[in-house]
């Protein structure tokens, strides 16, 4: 829809994109979220589309995905077949409620910064223990773990004017085995529960990411694959009021499905 309160489309300087940030500014990536609901408080779009960031880059550290990488670009990217967790990238794209037509516009960073519980790029990043590089308007940078970024439904740790530059996924994370379970109330609908478990081939470390079911993602990490009872105990530490209540799911059912899926993932990764 039109955002009729927007009076200017700012083309930021790639060298200092946050310069001149003021109240009423928003970062415009794909626009697929910003044009999807009334936002009468916004005045300027700061257009990220021409900053020229390489969408996907593989280097010694692992995999870097630019915040402006389109979801369709991520879907077109073929990860190294040697990475056991490589297919998870595409699994997470397929978890979108959004259509392939949306993927052509929307970006990975945009989905993460929208910070809805069902955001599959958040699930992907958390499951792969990614780090986010954030740039503040004065140009200073900070790196945060993906799991700490989203703090509630549509809430995250971004400060005014701060910008997500990229996410970095280590090669070690990409080498982990994984198992996932997803549930939605309609067949191709928005996730009401999305769980991904991974296991390190060398250390045996187990990491379970609980997302969509809760208002922000949770990590359950153990040195090895826990017992069913131990896993349930760890899941019980997620407070009941963190289970999300919205038209796509009810907290009691989400908790039930989380426990159920967690156990399925646990036994799959235990073998």
């Amino acid at each position: 829809m039109d955002q009729n309160t927007v009076v200017e489309l700012v083309k930021p300087d790639p060298a200092a994109p946050g310069e001149g940030w003021r109240e009423g500014d928003v970062w415009l990536a794909g626009g697929t979220f910003l044009l999807s609901l009334p936002l009468p408080q916004i005045r300027r779009f700061r257009d990220l589309s021409e900053l020229g960031w390489t969408p996907v880059e593989v280097n010694d550290a692992g995999l870097e995905i630019a915040a402006t990488c389109k979801v369709s670009e991520l879907m077109a990217y073929q990860p190294d077949p040697g990475w056991a967790a490589g297919p998870l990238l595409h699994d997470c794209v397929r978890a979108f409620l959004a259509s392939f037509k949306v993927w052509n516009g929307q970006t990975v960073g945009g989905n993460i910064c929208t910070s809805i519980p069902a955001g599959p790029m958040t699930t992907m990043a958390c499951a792969l223990d990614a780090d986010y590089l954030l740039i503040s308007p004065d140009g200073s940078e900070r790196t945060v773990p993906a799991i700490d970024f989203v703090t509630g439904n549509n809430v995250n740790i971004l400060r005014p004017g701060e910008l997500m530059r990229k996410l970095t996924i280590s090669a070690a994370a990409l080498n982990r085995r994984y198992a996932l379970r997803r549930f939605s109330l309609t067949k191709a609908g928005r996730s009401s529960v999305f769980l991904v478990g991974t296991r390190d081939p060398e250390s045996g470390e187990f990491l379970l990411t609980v997302s969509a079911a809760t208002i922000h993602p949770f990590h359950i990490r153990d040195a090895g694959v826990p017992s069913a009872a131990a896993l349930l105990d760890m899941l019980a530490e997620i407070p009941d009021d963190k289970y999300f209540d919205d038209p796509n799911g009810r907290p009691d059912h989400r908790k039930h499905m989380t426990d159920l899926f967690a156990e399925e993932i646990r036994s799959e990764l235990a073998n």
């Binding site: 489309l9 626009g31 697929t32 037509k101 052509n104 067949k187 796509n248």
Partner: protein, 912 residues
Amino acid sequence: MSISVNGHDFSNEPAPGQCLRTFLRDLGHFGVKKGCDMGDCGACTVHIDGDAYHSCITPASRALGHEVTTVEGLADGEELHPVQEQFLRAPGFQCGFCTAGMIMSTTAMTDEQRQDLDHSLRGSLCRCTGYRQIHDAINGVDNTEDSDAIAPGDGVGASPYAIAGRGIVTGHEEYTLDTNREGTVHLKVVRSPYAHAKALRIDTTQAKASSGVLAVYTWEDVPDKYFTTAIHEDHLVDPKDTRVLDRIARFKGQPMVAVVAETIAEAEAGCRAVEIEWEVLPAVFTAQDAILPGAPAIHRGNPDPFIRHPDRNVLLDLNIGRGDVEAGFEEADVIHEAEYRTPRVAHAHLETHGTIAWEEDGIMNVRTSTQSPFIARQKLGFLFDIQDANLRVFTKRVGGAFGGKQDVLSEPLCILAARDLHRPVQWEFTREEEFTGGVVRHPFTIKVKLGAKRDGTLTAMQMDTLADTGAYGNHGGEVLGCSLVAMNWYRCRNKRYDGQMVYTNNVPSGGMRGYGSAQPTFAMEQAMDELSAELGIDPIEMRRKNCIRPGDNLAVGTHAEEFQLRSYGLPQCLDYVEEKLKQGNGVPKPEGPEWAEGIGFAIGMADTSPPTEHRSGASVHLELDGTYRINVGTVEQGNGTVTTHLQMAATVLNTTMDQFSIVNGDTSKNMWDTGAFASQGMYVSGKAVTLAATGLLDYIQTYAAAKFGGVKEDVEVRATEVSVNGRTISLAELAQLADEEDGQQLQYSQRAYGSPISAGWNVHGVRLAVNQVTGEIAILQEVHAVDAGTVINPQQLRGQIEGGVMQGIGWTLTEWLQQGPDGEILNPNIRMYRMPNYADAPRIDVHFVDVDVSKEAGPFGAKGMAESPINPVAPAVANAVADATGVRFRCLPLTPPLIYKELNEAYQASNG
């Protein structure tokens, strides 16, 4: 930088916050539709450099320097793109509003994507078809015939594709707002943030001073009159409880102030500048609370005697019965009694409400998205003191309605402003306004009590309903009256109905497919299964034993003398569904012990015409060029009436459909037509067309016999010719002769009415599996048998039934307008409302049963079928779920969280 659209360069600069959809429409590319406006429905899909995008969520600036293709640019001249051809011939549409987007999405898919439509049709919603037609279109299945390939006189029973089809698949068919009228200004409203409040002071000073604002209207500027927004032939069947703008807000979302400005952006800014000082009043949100002593009386003091108890929020109560139910229950060996509830749901037609009004040569023209131009004219004329002759209300093609456009919502304010400003005024509802300020299905609470002898004979039936009309009484009375119907298809000497329709501070309820009968059918058809189970009798046998038959009195609330079973296909419907469910369809239940399989079915009977009057007048003209023209007032909203009218007229006049043009939906060009609702587009308007065509045939024969000698019975009218007395001349010559030599125009008009009334039947059967751990339902098989009398256009009727069933599936499984504690709608958009997607749509085995048709009732013996297919779906599914799990669900929707919770509780209870 310029933008190329369909090969033409435009140098227009988009506004900084503009989306591509409005930018393209401003340039005149009206094939780009607005459905959801947030990237969920796909109606606005276009290609940029060959890739598909939802243009509503694509910044227009992103298309600068690129090649945009809209549906209008797809065909190569007159040669349709293959996908357009496929959508034309499947056909892949009913109202056609989603079609451009469907076509643009399909043409952008890879072969692999076309093999996986469950995923690749996400973001492509159709509310009419139920998706089988879309599937057929994408896969190149041709279910139709070229109209000129159908032999003269063989129109009825054939499946020609829609006459508007070519316009629809090319994006050129005009819908309500597909026009850029010179000088048009835009209207927006300030809606109440409170469910119940009084505007103590409305300060419009800032708004009036706001840039581009031309006028601001409040309750002080509108006619000092009460009316009802509901569209019915008889205006006395609804209360006068509504003002165009009111000082009292009775639901959250009620329009309070209208702002008109040069642009939508300026009108929105004007709305934000309005300041209202409120006195917030206590509010009630359930019918149960609204009738408690001390509840705020929402329409206290309204003098309309129609409102039964304004001090107690009771719009209407009905207490009807026959026999003695108490005695009947005494006589019973088994009594079943339970309470059922149905939720508030939305129509979600893809075209939102919209109106353009302008004055021209002393006539107020109203181009609007309505199901009834004539009754809209009556209401608007009353409000604004305009005579019929000076008020023209008309439709273009309407992009879906389902009863949602059986209210006058967007029209009055446009007329008010157009008269004041002498400019064309347009108001287009946003998608959110559809949910918060449109109309919804009435929520019902229904108690059913049934008594039967051991052998299954019913001894007493009792229903007690409490329904929520919302803040206004539009449709409340008629919907309550229609809820009686669920008692009518069972023979029982003792019947008792008590019902109340109650005001609350919710968004107003309105007319919706299955008008007042879908809700009680959900209750009655489950109750009958439950009673059968208690008796140990097979539920189908229970129906066979107790359902009405020809000759039975259908009473409780209807006029038995005009309402009779003139043809009767229920037994065949039951047989078909029973047999098919027994046979299965080869789809196994998912693997695993957690999946439990069950079957269920339910019946719905629909009167072929409503008890209140419904009438239509049609004329058929033989033009001087030898073609025919039909004039009929009904509206085309995807129900396909225009095509069936041509089929019937062509059959009567022994010619082909391509010999016809049709003019419809316009008060200035047509005779009175009550409107396209209550499934009357075929039954009444079609009857008028058929009678007029019959009259014209007689006229032509009589004239030709008189002119050329012979008797009229020997005059043969066929194709484009008339043969008489050994001589054959063209119809064109005949028409010219009549005109030139005798001053006669060969035309005939005829009015038609809903009476006499018959009944159509729907029986729905379903086999499904319930995952007892997750609460999921997997539908494995759906069978739907129909007695529609004579089927005029099998392909079209099949589509109507599939679409109705799919809306039933939505109502049963996923759809639900959720509400917060202060009356706020929590999911007022397509994304969160969750209407069925392609992936949710099961294949439905639709079967028309052969019946001895009664031509006394509908045209050619046809019975209307637009609405009633929805009615038996929810109870059939609920019966199947109960069969599978042993747990009875008496409310909707049957979502996994609900099923999980109830099964879990039942399991805990049975384990102590």
